[in-house]
């Protein structure tokens, strides 16, 4: 009964102010939109920057010739690049390759064509490349789904701590003591708060998963898998957050620690970086990472 009262009281507190209620609904919507947008943006376009010649005056013609050479490749774009920021734009991912009009062009073009087509010789292995790309496309869809869910987990690990950190304030304010004096069990306030955090996180996560299934193409999972995912994410987020809340003396400590932990767990689980490109030791360590287990559920 005490646990039920704690859950009910916290839900009433959270929904009492219209602002809080709106935020509770708005945050998962914003998160879903961001996840959807970030997945749509991430594509495999290869961008080539053309560095104008410092001396010659035939730049426009040569640029036109470059664009014609790469036109047959759908996933290649050619743009004019600023020489002053050559390395900066390459580092930041704006351009993958450069063609310097002051250097021999054929060698540069051949090199890029080899990288772009992933071919050993230009020409007769085009079919193999197309098959390989088709297989890669399916794997990329699975990876995109895993990344979407991984982003969700990262966000909810942080959000759950925001909800759960109210326990610290209640403890400091004497509410937990008054609850015990009223004849309730020592830890039942904490358990009730854990349950409340779980419910709120599950609610918000449910909205996110629903929106993602509606708006992300190819993000279709069965209802049973959706429920399992929902339960797993909510359980992991609320469990970890309440553990942190129990250990920390202040709300700020709990929030900052949860942000750090969420990022580290997500990184090691392969959310932002593909598992195959990680060092072997880190791939082996994924076994003890709960975020990795949840992402594996998508693959089954």
């Amino acid at each position: 009964m005490g646990i039920y009262l704690v859950i009910k009281n916290n839900i009433v507190r959270a929904t009492k102010k219209k602002g809080n209620l709106i935020l509770m609904l708005l945050i998962p919507i914003v998160i879903s939109i961001l996840t959807i947008v970030s997945l749509q943006i991430k594509n495999n376009t290869v961008r080539i920057g053309i560095l104008e010649s410092r001396t010659a005056s035939m730049n426009e013609e040569q640029i036109k010739i470059m664009k014609e050479i790469f036109e047959p490749y759908d996933h290649v774009e050619v743009h004019l690049a600023q020489r002053e920021y050559e390395k900066t734009y390459q580092i930041m991912g704006k351009y993958h390759f450069y063609i310097d009009l002051d250097k021999p062009m054929q060698a540069q073009i051949d090199q890029i064509l080899r990288e772009v087509g992933n071919l050993e010789t230009v020409g007769n292995t085009v079919e193999k490349a197309i098959d390989k790309n088709a297989i890669q496309e399916t794997t990329k869809e699975e990876q995109a789904m895993q990344q979407a869910v991984g982003l969700l987990i990262t966000t909810f690990l942080v959000l759950a701590t925001v909800h759960g950190a109210g326990y610290i304030n209640d403890k400091k304010g004497g509410m937990v003591d008054r609850y015990q004096i009223a004849g309730n069990g020592k830890d039942s306030y904490y358990v009730g708060y854990c349950a409340y955090t779980f419910l709120v996180t599950a609610f918000q996560c449910g909205i996110c998963l629903g929106l993602m299934q509606i708006f992300i193409p190819n993000f279709t999972i069965s209802i049973w898998l959706s429920l399992k995912l929902l339960g797993a994410i909510a359980l992991l987020s609320s469990g970890l957050s309440m553990l942190l809340v129990r250990m920390c003396k202040s709300e700020m400590q709990a929030n900052l620690l949860s942000s750090g932990l969420a990022i580290v767990l997500s990184l090691l689980a392969g959310t932002f970086v593909e598992t195959e490109s990680m060092p072997q030791l880190l791939q082996n360590l994924q076994v003890i990472n709960p975020v990795h287990w949840i992402l594996q559920m998508l693959g089954t």
Binding site: I27, M92, V264, L282
Partner: protein, 255 residues
């Protein structure tokens, strides 16, 4: 001046004692840089290693995240129930706010500077006369962040709501700026959205300074950030609310 200096020293000791300034501005960026650098080792070209990339983008990001620490610094006297002592004491309210901003700025600057130079040594970031310019940029960024954080902590009624949601815009800016992965695009709309993030400009000019030897842009950015910081400090002083400064009661408190 003496009051300001005394308050600043006192606040600086608090920042050092609470440990989060050091933890979040030194240890966290180093750990995340090492981790991300290790995870993405194979994905970077010869121009820059993964460790160098993440060192240079993580430090400004973690400096920006310190806005929450600065906001709590603005509110801590209320939570410790010592705020009324400040108001009763014969010190100008302006000195309370400026001392908090100065103390946060100095501590964050030191932490960011130490992190930057440790990263330069550990991961062999290209040596350049622009290192000092980048350090100055980090100091000025710390000043801006401290002033915005203290403005939130001392001058805004919805501190509790703001501190919970402020992570979201910072996270968005970080993603747009390529903090977690190099985020390049040719789409004009997305490029415009990326350019809305201050971290995009900071990262871009830091890379330009170190790898393309361009220091003019960083100089302009430093001047702009100084102006923003001074403006935010003036706003924090003007918006200082005694009721909010004292108000350290629990959520749900009805006035």
């Amino acid at each position: 001046m003496r009051e300001l200096w005394t308050l600043t020293i006192f606040q600086m000791k608090r920042r050092v004692r609470d440990g989060f300034s050091i933890g979040y501005n030194v240890i966290f960026p180093l750990v995340i840089t090492a981790l991300l650098g290790l995870l993405t080792k194979k994905q970077f070209t010869q121009t820059i290693t993964s460790y160098q990339y993440y060192a240079l983008v993580m430090i400004p990001f973690c400096a920006t995240m310190s806005i929450i620490t600065a906001a709590y610094a603005g509110k801590e006297d209320a939570y410790a129930k010592t705020a009324s002592r400040y108001l009763i004491a014969p010190i100008h309210e302006k000195n309370i706010v400026v001392a908090k901003i100065l103390s946060c700025s100095l501590i964050f600057s030191c932490c960011n500077g130490v992190t930057f130079f440790v990263c330069c040594a550990l991961w062999h970031i290209p040596s350049s006369e622009n290192w000092w310019l980048i350090f100055l940029l980090l100091c000025v960024l710390s000043f801006v962040i401290a002033s915005i954080g203290v403005l939130i902590g001392t001058g805004m009624k919805n501190f509790l709501v703001l501190k919970n949601v402020i992570n979201i815009p910072i996270g968005l800016c970080a993603v747009a700026a390529g903090v977690f992965y190099p985020f390049g695009t040719s789409d004009r709309l997305i490029q415009s959205l990326q350019n809305l993030s201050p971290l995009t400009w900071i990262n871009r000019f830091v890379f330009a300074a170190l790898y393309d030897c361009r220091s003019k842009e960083i100089g302009i950015l430093i001047v702009i950030l100084v102006m923003v910081g001074v403006g935010m400090t003036a706003l924090a002083v003007k918006n200082f609310q005694k009721e909010e400064f004292i108000h350290g009661d629990l959520p749900g408190y009805q006035k």
